[in-house]
Amino acid sequence: MTYFILNLFFAGAWVLVNHAYSIIDFSIGFALGLGSLWLTRPFGLDKSYFRRLKAAVVLLIYFHYEMMASVIKVAWEVLSPEFRSVPDIVHVPLDATSDMEITLLANMVSLTPGTLSLDVNPEKTHLIVHAMFAQDHAAVISAIKNGLEKKLLEVTRE
């Protein structure tokens, strides 16, 4: 987190020094700041920053891909004459522990393939999910656990 704030500070400094206030200049500053932080690795305070930044980019791309895939699935379900879906309520066991991780996961689950997060049980061990295509509960659970949750935990965990 410290490194992220430092990196934002570098980008802001770059924008101020160059007196060019556009999103492109900010991105250049961010990239340069990232490069200079990369050089300071031998003194590293926060070694996980680069891995986590990479994981965040991977998560962002994966999330958008999944969202498009889910939209096409749902659109097909809405427009096709008969209903092919087998909706059911699935309890997904959680590896995410902190409130922030669970909130992020629940929001992403709501926006991706045929699943909608309804609730978390009081012990915060299971996410209650309404799945549209739940012929096989294990498949729904493993899709969430190995896809979104795994990639999310790579970002939030040290």
Partner: protein, 100 residues
Amino acid sequence: METLISLCLLIGTFFTLVAAIGILRMPDIYMRIHAVTKAGTVGIGLILLSVALFFADSAVTSRVIGIMLFIIVTTPAAAHLLGKTMLKSKYRMWRNLTIR
């Protein structure tokens, strides 16, 4: 560029239309929430994207990014609250009996 903008606009309106049809057609509230959250978000996102591409101006683009952020944060929250209340009130959901 013109083609790309019109394509984004068309696909965006198509998905918004799908969301609207979904509200009317889906058998129970959970399925309706599915249709609205997913198709609605992507539809609005694509329409906003075409707006940003059309004006190609940082003042417009920054607002578009702001609107997108708010939609991505608020839509799942609203869906979650609706779903949670229905689950708490022991709502009987629709099951597909023709396949099982």
